[in-house]
Subunit: 96 residues, 2 copies
Amino acid sequence: MKSKPTTVLSARAVLAISRALSDPRRYEIFRHIAAESCTACSDLRSALPITAATLSHHLKELESCGLIELARRGKFVDVTFCRSAWDAYLTELKQI
Amino acid sequence: MKSKPTTVLSARAVLAISRALSDPRRYEIFRHIAAESCTACSDLRSALPITAATLSHHLKELESCGLIELARRGKFVDVTFCRSAWDAYLTELKQI
DNA sequence: TCATCACTTAGACAGTTGTCAAACTATCGT
DNA sequence: ACGATAGTTTGACAACTGTCTAAGTGATGA
């Protein structure tokens, strides 16, 4: 009996996630987001020594591989961790 | 009670492995190795469309992050999958 | 010993990527 | 309407990386 209803990830998707995690800064950003589950963009900026432009770039990378979601809320941008994508990724790796 | 006696990976080690897996070709090579558990270098060459030099480069990358081990056996090089490193990596990621 | 085989090293090149400053867009408060 | 705030886009640059060819190393077999 399978207890995981997670989506199956293509090889491309797995690679995209691995690539996203392979940068030190992006990895740290990602861990912050995952730990908080949902953060404001500006919280990340004050927590990490990083330019707004660079943070924006990294967030877009993390979003494009499905690990996070970005949503505008007025002036701000909410960042939410997509645990389902993360679980799917781990499930895929576990098969190795 | 912990059932996993795996080594704890530093953040650097995790990053090194993620980086190693982020290249399409290297990922494919790695999966071959993991599937076979132990292969000869030349088997990989015949299984993948790749130059000897490039393969050598990728194997060294995979070795330097601890995912595989390389051992000379006469003319040949044996490639073995280090499951303990892989398990340690997954354990680390699972904590996210 | 000599040619071949299996792989490594060195060097070069093209493409990618992380980074920042500066200019831009959009929203909020006054 | 205006200025401040939050984030994005653009453009540029340096550093890195994957790839190949060519030359080198070392073992094997005749």
